[in-house]
Symmetry: D2
Subunit: 351 residues, 4 copies
C-alpha cells in the first residue's frame, strides 16, 4: 500500500531496532487489525533469530537500507539509540515511508526541524512516540482542562524519580523530563518562553543523572519537573493547580491515579480584609474519575495506522516532537549554566 | 539572675508577641523546671486578658520597653512579625537580656550580622528558633550522616507544600524554605556556594507563593527545595541520597517517618563494562529506626535554658540563623532574576 | 436549674472520675456556652489539686454523695471504671440528676435496662458517651445511607487494631468492639438477630485481647469487627458495601477519611448468561466528600446540654446504650463458646 | 522418561485445561531447562488452535485419555474446574503419570485422600499448585519464623478482598481462603483443631461471596481470614503477631511487601504492677528485608521437575493439599451453621 491509497488494505510496517522498546512495538503492531509487521531490522543477527522464531511470517534483516527499499513497506518504526534517529528517519522519509520515531525525536532541534520539513514536503506522516499522551489519564486531564473546570491554570509540578536505568548516551532531562515536556505541550495551548534548569552528573564521564527544570510561560503559568535516576523510591507524580480546582496524578496508584480537588484560591479586594490576608481558600470534595485503562501503546498504534490510512495528522506529530526537543535543548543549556535563564523562540503551536 | 550566675535559679523569661506562635512558647516555657514566664508583652490588650486569666502569676504589659527594663527578666523571647525582629532583638540585647528569636531571625543578613555581633560583644545567648533541628527525626538523620552510614552525600531533595497560610509580609522561601536551609546547615558541614531559584506570585501585590530553590555545594552535593502555599495536598518529604545508603523522611507519617534504604550506586572502571553502563546499582533491606518522639519545642526550650545557665552556645545560634538568612536573601534575589545564579560568600561554619 | 426550666440558664455539671477521659470532659464542658463544670469528684485528692489549679472556679470533692446532694448541680457526668457505672449512675438518677455515662454504659444488660427505666420514670436525660456517633464522618455516612445512595446494604466490615492499651477490667470487645456496635446501631434501622464471635486472651488472667465478631441481620446484612490490642500497626478502617455504591472509611487519613466508590454488583437473569456468571460488576468514579471536622466531643456536649434545656432525647440515649450492651454480652458469650451462635432478642429500635 | 530414570532427560509434560490458568502453566513449563510441554489437551478446539500457533512444536488434543496413554508423557498438569480434579488426576496417576494439580486439589477430603493414597502406592509425585508458598515473601516469613525471631506466635490475621471474579462452582473460602490455609500449613508446624466461620451469599443461587474464618490451634495460636468478592478496593494483607516481633505483609506494595516490627508484649509478675496492668509493651525499629523477587510459578515449576528427576517429595505435596481441603470442608460446614464450631481430626503433618 502506498500513502493515500483508498482501498482498505493492511499497513505494512518495518521496525528497526529490537532492543528494549522494539519488542513492544512489534508485539503491538502485530495485534492491530489494519497493520502487520512486515520486516524487523537489527544489526545483531542473534536478536533477529528470536524474532524469526516468534514471528515466522515476519522478515528479518541486518540491512536497514534493504528494508526501506522494499516497496511493500508503508511505514518504518525507529526504535534505535537517539543519535541514530536523524539519519535513519531521514533515509526512511526520503524512501517515501511514513515514520514512527521514538522520543526524543532527535539530538538537536536543527535535526528535528529538518525531519519535520522533509515529511511535510513529501506529505508523509511523521509520528513521534510520546506514549504518555495516549494514556487514559493524560487524556482525561486534557478533557478536564479544556472544559475549564480548573479555572486559570497556575502551575504544573512533576516528580519523576527512581533508582536505576542510568543512560549512557542521554542525560536525565532527555530520558525523563521529555515526558513532562510532551504532556505540557499536549495539555496547554501555550509554549514556554524561558527555561531555568539545574542538574548534576555525580559520576564524571556520565550524563547528568538528576535535574530540576523550571519552565516559564507568558500567561503566568509556571511548570517544574524534578527528574532523577538516583532516588531510593520510585515516584511518578504530577500536581496541576488551577484557581478553581487542582489535580493530582499518581501513576503508581493501581487505581485512582487521578484525583480532582475542589480546592482553590480567591483574591479579595475587600478593603476590610486588605490589611489582613488578601487571599482566600476554598476546600471541598475530592473526586477520582474512572479513567480508560486501555494500553496506551495500543491506542497510539491504532492512531498511527488511522493517520496513514486517512492521511490525517497525528496528535504527537513532528511539530510537537520538535517543540519538545527545543525544550530539552534549552533546559540542558541552562543546566550547564547553573540555572541561567534560557529564552525559547516564541511560536504558535501550529507552526 | 544574670548570665553566668552559679546558683541554680529559675530563668525568668519575657515573651513578646502572643499571636500564632507566642502561646506555644508561653505554654512550653511554663512547663520547664528551670524557667518561668515572667511577663508577656503584646500590643493588643485583649490578648493580654487571655494570658492573665490562664496564667495568673504572669505579668502582662503592652509596653515592650517596660519589659526589657525589668531587672528580674533574664531572657526575652520574640515571636512578632519578621520586620520587627531586628529592632526588638537589638533593644533586648542592649538591655542585657538573652534572646530567643523566631525564624527567620531578620529581614536582611546585614541586620542578622549586627545582632550576632551585639550578642557576642555582650556575651549574651542569641538563640534562633529553628524548631525542626530539635525533632528526634532530624537529630537521628544527623547521627546517621555523621556516622558515615550513607557514604558520600549526593543530594538533598525536599517537598514542603500545602494549601493555605498565605503570608502577608514574607514570601514562601522565608516561610517554608527556611526549614530546609536550617536543616541543611545542621546536617552538613558545608555551606552552599551558589543558589538558583525560580518562583512566582500568582496574585499581584502578594509575596511569591511558590518557589523552587537549588543550592550548589563545592563537594558536588546539590540540594533542592520545592515550596508552595498552593498545593491541593500537604506534603512534607525529604530525600537524602548517599553513595551507600539513602534516606526518606515523611513528616506526615504517624510512625516510621524515617526510612533508610540500603541502596546505592557504584561506579565501575572495569574495561569490559566501560562501553556498557559504568554505574552499578545495589538494593537491599530497608530499615525504619525508632525515633525519639519528644516534643521538639520542649527539647529546644530546655536547651535554651541550659545554655543560659551554663553559658554555652545554642545549636541554633545566631551564626546558624545568619547563614540561613543569607541563603534566603540569595534565593529571593535569584528568584527575582528567573533562576539567575547567585553566589554566596565562602565561609566556614564557625565564622 | 431543674429540667424543663424555661429561662436560659447555665447547666451545672458535676464530673466524677478525673482519670484518662475525665479531663477531656471537663475541658469540653468548660468551653460550652450554656454549661459549666460546677464540681469534680475523684477518690484521689492529688488529682483534685490539679483540677483546682487549672480551674480555680470549680469545686472539688472526694465525696460523690456530697456532689449529687448539691441542689445546684443539674447533671452528672460519669467517667469511672465500667464496674462502677451502674451504682454511680443509679444514685445520680435517684438524686434527680441528668446523667452522662461513659461507654459501655454498664457491665450487664440487666443493669443497663434498670438505668433506662429509672431515667424514664423520672423524666431525666440518660446520655451514653458513644463519641464516634458525633463525628462528621459517621454523620456523613448516615446521611448517605439514609438517602439510599448505596442501594441495599450488603455488609459492614471493620478493623480496629493497634498495639497497646490492655485493659484490666474489660475485654477487647467492650473496649473496641463497642464503637462498631454503636455505629451499626446508629447507621441502620435493624438490630442484629444473632452473633458469632471468636477471641483469645493470650496472657492468662487477663481479659481477651483479640476478637473477631460477626453479627447477622434478618435483611441479609452481615457485619464483622476485627478488634485487637496486639497489632504492630494502628488500623481504623470500615468498609460498607451496598448493591450500588460502597464506602471506605479510614479514620487515620488526615483528610479524605471517607471515600464513596461508584462500584456495585448486579444480578442477571438473562438466560444467555445463566450458564455463565450471573453476577455483573460495575465500576465508576470515586468521590471523597468534604466532612465536617468539628471535634466530636464538642458537638456531643452541646447536644447533651440542648437535650437537658429542651427536654429532648439524646441520639445516644439509654436505649441505644442498652442495645450496645446486649451485643457486647452476646458476643462475649459466643466468644467463650468458640463461635457458637448466640441469638439476640428481637426488638424495635424504639423499645 | 519414566520416573526414577537416572539419566538427565527432559521431563515431558501434558497440560489439560487451557482456560484462565493453563496458559501460565504452558508458558512457564516451556521456559524450564529440564522440561517441555509435550501436549496440551482441552475440550475446546478453538483454544487448541491458539496453542498450535504459539507453540508449533506442542501437540494438541481434545482427548484427555489419548494424552495420558502417550508413553512419552511423564507428568500431567491439571488446570480444569475443581469438580473434574479427582477423576482426571486419578486417571493420570493410574496411567503412571506424575501429577501437578491446581488448588484446591479436590472437592472433598475423601477424594483428596484417595489421590494421596494412589500416588503413594505407585510412587508417583503428586504436586498441588499452592503458588503462594513459592513466593520470596512467604519463604522469607517461614525463614524468620523458623529462626525464632518472632518469639511465641500469637496470631495470624489475613484480609484478602476485592471486587469481582465471582466463581460459579466454588465459594469464596475455596477461592481465596485456600491461600491462607496453605500459607498457615507451610509456616507453622501445627494443624488447627477447630474452625468457626461465618459467611453469606448475597445473591441466591450463587456460592458464598464473603466469609470470615477463624482457626483455633492447641498452642493458643489463633488465625483469621477475611475473604470477599465484594469489596470496593483490593486488599491482600497478613499480620503475624509474635511475643517478640510482628510481621506485616502487604502483597500490593510494589516493594517492601514485608515489614518486621520490633514490637512485642511482655507479661509481668511484679507484685507492684499486679494491681495495675500486667502486660507491658515494647516498641523498636521496623525492618523491611530484601525479598527474592523471582516469579513464584517459575520457582515452583523447577521444584516440580526436580522432584520428578530426583524422586523427592514436593513442599506442596498431596498431604499438604489434603490438609487444606480438610480446612475448607470444615470452614464451609461451620459457615453453613452460622459459626458453629467444627472440630478437625488431630493429625501430625507427616501423616
Amino acid at each position: 500500500m502506498s500513502a493515500g491509497n483508498e482501498e482498505k488494505k493492511t499497513v505494512n510496517i518495518g521496525v528497526v531496532g529490537y532492543g528494549y522498546w522494539g519488542p513492544n512495538l512489534v508485539r503491538n503492531f502485530s495485534e492491530l487489525h489494519q497493520a502487520r509487521v512486515h520486516t524487523v531490522a537489527d544489526l545483531n543477527p542473534k536478536v533477529l533469530e528470536i524474532v524469526a522464531r516468534r514471528f515466522p511470517a515476519t522478515k528479518t534483516t541486518t540491512d536497514f537500507q534493504e528494508m526501506i527499499r522494499d516497496p511493500e513497506i508503508d511505514a518504518v518504526a525507529i526504535a534505535t539509540p537517539v543519535n541514530t534517529h536523524f539519519s535513519l528517519a531521514m533515509a526512511a522519509l526520503k524512501a517515501g515511508k511514513h515514520v514512527w520515531l521514538e522520543k526524543p525525536m532527535a539530538e538537536t532541534s536543527l535535526q528535528a526541524r529538518a525531519l519535520v520539513e522533509e515529511a511535510e514536503k513529501r506529505g508523509l506522516i511523521l509520528h513521534v512516540d510520546h506514549t504518555f499522551i495516549y494514556t487514559g489519564t493524560v487524556r482525561k486531564m486534557k478533557e478536564l482542562i479544556d472544559a475549564g473546570d480548573l479555572g486559570k491554570i497556575l502551575y504544573y509540578d512533576s516528580i519523576r524519580v527512581n533508582l536505576g536505568l542510568f543512560q549512557r548516551d542521554v542525560n536525565v532531562i532527555s530520558d525523563l523530563g521529555v515526558h513532562d515536556f510532551s504532556i505540557l505541550d499536549y495539555l496547554f495551548e501555550e509554549h514556554p518562553v524561558a527555561v531555568s534548569a539545574a542538574g548534576i552528573n555525580h559520576f564524571p564521564g556520565t550524563p547528568e543523572n538528576l535535574a530540576y527544570i523550571t519552565l516559564f510561560y507568558e500567561s503566568g503559568l509556571i511548570a517544574h519537573a524534578n527528574v532523577s535516576w538516583l532516588a531510593p523510591v520510585k515516584v511518578r507524580q504530577i500536581l496541576i493547580g488551577g484557581a478553581n480546582k487542582m489535580i493530582t496524578y499518581d501513576d503508581l496508584e493501581p487505581s485512582e491515579k487521578l484525583k480532582i480537588y475542589d480546592k482553590g484560591v480567591s483574591f479579595t479586594d475587600d478593603p476590610k480584609q486588605i490589611h489582613e490576608m488578601r487571599v482566600g481558600y476554598r476546600t471541598g470534595d475530592m473526586w477520582a474519575p474512572k479513567v480508560d485503562g486501555s494500553e496506551a501503546l495500543r491506542v497510539e498504534g491504532e492512531h498511527f495506522v488511522d493517520c496513514i490510512v486517512n492521511g490525517t495528522k497525528p496528535i504527537t506529530d513532528g511539530h510537537l516532537g520538535l517543540r519538545v526537543v527545543e525544550v530539552i535543548e534549552a533546559a540542558t543549556s541552562s543546566m550547564r549554566g547553573r540555572g541561567e535563564t534560557v529564552h525559547l523562540p516564541r511560536q504558535g503551536k501550529s507552526v
